[in-house]
């Protein structure tokens, strides 16, 4: 290969990112190989220096999605724990060596102490659930073996919860203020019942479809001020926010969907009907987002820091002392998921929450949870996302929840819970029906009697769901209600 041919070969390598074919008898000398590698490095640095995403926003967003996906993988936390336990083992060996010299009895005590002591550096939000499912050698509560299977089948995967990574607001006036301040368009999402909670069919489809697609999540988070509203409440709202909502619907009327709105209230584009071919739904939404952005003009992409859309769901207390139990329900078949998950919250006031606590903490004490409170758990019986198909407390024909204090360890009482429910109702309380649900539940509640408070709750439901006739063949479903302090 003469120098001219080499230049052409090298120029093509750098331009196309891969080397053109060479005939078999042509070899690249070490000097030429070294030059090629040097120039490939220069090319890489030139491309890096002219990146369009110089601030790394999309890189970081993508990384966070990958990390979240990895965290939901069962082995993930254990990778970290393995490393930690390796370090603990080294400490343990050194300590044990010293103690053996003193007394074998102390070795036993020291090892036992290290093994039983939880590592302060591990972080596993599911630890309490696993603990409750673990068989106990003496006393305590042991849930039925099928509980683990239902728990695994019902709880949402990280892919199903991508829509929660979008920083949704719930206040149109606040969204408008932010849109003006940040000079970006509003993305309004409405549905019957509130799209972030139990909602109507289309909002639910968007939630588990396009709004959980990486590209859509990234595009919305970086460019829009997203706001999600219950269409019925928003259309009746008084004041400027209500006026703005009604103006949006006058400009582009639709029952539910997505609207892209400028900060001054002009509708730039909208998406209200899913395409017949569901595979292209995400593309259709992206097309609407891009058209809205184009109509709006240049937008400075923003970085969305990790946040929790439902900071109190399933954990902790609201400032008023209320709790929001995390509810997941789903159709299951032969122990496997048989449809999308319904992620929901069940808010209990401080008084209602106190009603779940055992009136006495003597081992063996049995009691019945007030029926009004037991009825509140009806919403866990429906595996359908539509709020109209969900049974309400007044729809319960049977609602029983009983507790037994199984054991006391230190200041904590382990309480087993057993319940059963049967409901019957018409869709939206007036249309077709009836929808019939029945379920039983087993659960565990841990009560700290020194602090006089419940510190964790897990209820696993198994039952059947019958939709309206003629689609009323019984279908298996499961639900998980959980909370930890």
């Amino acid at each position: 290969m003469n120098s001219e041919e080499w230049d052409e070969f090298l120029a093509a390598c750098l331009d196309e990112g891969s080397a053109p074919d060479l005939s078999k008898d042509v070899e690249i000398s070490p000097e030429r190989a070294s030059e090629a590698l040097d120039l490939m490095e220069v090319e890489g640095l030139l491309r890096h220096a002219h990146r369009r995403d110089g601030d790394g926003t999309s890189f970081r967003d993508h990384l966070w999605r990958r990390i979240k996906a990895e965290e939901s993988r069962p082995g993930f936390v254990r990778d970290v724990e393995t490393a930690l336990s390796g370090r603990l083992s080294a400490q343990r060996r050194r300590l044990a060596g010293l103690v053996v010299l003193a007394a074998s009895f102390l070795v036993f005590v020291a090892v036992w102490f290290l093994v039983s002591r939880p590592s302060p550096e591990t972080h596993d939000p599911l630890a309490f659930v696993e603990d409750m499912l673990r068989p106990r050698e003496a006393g305590g509560v042991q849930l039925p073996a099928s509980s683990s299977e239902i728990l695994a089948a019902v709880r949402a995967t990280s892919e199903e919860l991508r829509w929660m990574e979008i920083p949704w607001l719930r206040d149109l006036a606040e969204a408008q203020r932010l849109a003006r301040e940040e000079r970006r368009p509003i993305l309004l999402w409405t549905g019957g019942g509130g799209p972030l909670d139990r909602s109507c069919g289309c909002a639910y489809g968007l939630r588990r479809g396009p709004l959980s697609e990486d590209e859509v999540v990234g595009r919305i988070s970086a460019n829009f001020v997203p706001v999600a509203l219950d269409r019925d409440a928003a259309s009746r709202a008084a004041g400027p926010a209500g006026e703005l909502y009604r103006s949006i619907h006058r400009q582009r009327p639709a029952y539910e969907g997505l609207w892209i709105v400028s900060p001054d209230g002009r509708v730039l584009d909208a998406h209200s009907k899913p395409p017949k071919e569901r595979k292209i739904w995400s593309q259709a939404v992206l097309y609407t987002l891009d058209a809205g952005l184009k109509a709006f003009g240049p937008v400075e992409p923003r970085i969305v820091q990790p946040f929790s859309l439902f900071p109190h769901r399933g954990t902790g207390f609201t400032p008023a002392g209320a709790v929001s139990l995390a509810v997941s329900s789903r159709l299951i078949h032969n122990g496997r998921p048989d449809g999308p998950v319904v992620e929901d919250g069940m808010d209990l006031s401080a008084e209602e929450w106190a009603g779940l606590s055992p009136p006495s903490v003597a081992a063996g004490f049995e009691w019945t949870v007030p029926e009004a409170l037991a009825r509140r758990f009806c919403r866990a019986l429906s595996p359908a996302g539509d709020v109209g198909t969900m049974p309400l407390p007044q729809d319960a024909k049977v609602a029983e929840l009983k507790g037994v204090v199984e054991s006391i360890q230190g200041n904590r009482a382990q309480v087993s819970l057993k319940g059963r429910w049967e409901t019957e109702h018409f869709v939206d309380r007036k249309k077709e029906g009836p929808i019939r649900c029945s379920a039983s539940a087993d659960g565990v509640l841990v009560y700290d009697f020194a602090g006089q408070r419940t510190v964790s709750l897990l209820l696993v439901f198994r039952g059947t769901y019958r939709h309206t006739p003629p689609w009323d063949a019984p279908r298996q479903c499961g639900a998980v209600v959980e909370w930890t302090e």
Binding site: L14, A19, A36, G44, A49, W64, V80, A83
Partner: protein
């Protein structure tokens, strides 16, 4: 990050499950790491994939990081392994498709990454490159701007400038050679 101590605090927080702490670490190191991977990877997509994988492995293996040592160096160590894997995979795939030159260059680059000295000079090279670009005559500088800043392909450039694709490619090659010589000179003088 003005000291390892502050960084160690962030690492402790990240180990305890604080996502904001790891986010700060990513923010502080992603620029340098992406430059490092871009320098050796065949394209920016591969470079970013390697950088993503590096941060992911770092997150999973935070417990193995020795506090008080250089976090950036630790990250580069992970990146070097991921890069080598990626380049060797590329070499194998090219070999299967009987693209011998491609396989040879990918394998050679993997060896170069493996033998790269631990004291990384990517940041120095990047700053030197930018200075060298500034010092180019207007014609080559404008051509580089249209190729990289505007993202025009050589075919588009050839159309706009009324020249052949091959001529544009070779012209760009000569500019890169000039930049390489300029960077090496600055490295020898240790001045940016």
């Amino acid at each position: 990050m003005d000291s390892f101590t502050q960084e160690d605090d962030l690492i402790r927080l990240a180990r305890s499950g604080n996502p904001g702490a790891f986010s700060e670490l990513v923010g502080a190191h992603q620029g340098a790491l992406r430059a490092f991977t871009a320098r050796f990877a065949p394209d920016l997509e591969t470079a970013d994939e390697v950088a993503q994988e590096t941060f992911l492995r770092a997150y999973q293996g935070l417990a193995r990081f020795e506090l008080g040592t250089d976090f950036a160096k630790w990250l580069r160590g992970i990146a070097r392994h991921v890069l080598q894997d990626s380049l060797r995979r590329r070499a194998r795939e090219a070999g299967v498709r009987q693209r011998a030159a491609d396989a040879f260059l990918a394998e050679s680059m993997a060896r170069r990454v493996a033998s790269a000295e631990e004291g990384d000079d990517t940041d120095f090279r990047l700053r030197a490159l930018l200075r060298c670009v500034e010092e180019l005559d207007e014609g080559p500088r404008e051509l580089l701007g249209r190729r990289y800043r505007e993202g025009l392909s050589t075919i588009e450039l050839a159309g706009k400038l009324g020249r052949g694709v091959s001529a544009i490619r070779v012209h760009l090659l000569k500019i890169r050679r000039m930049l390489r010589a300029c960077i090496e000179l600055r490295l020898r003088k240790s001045t940016v």
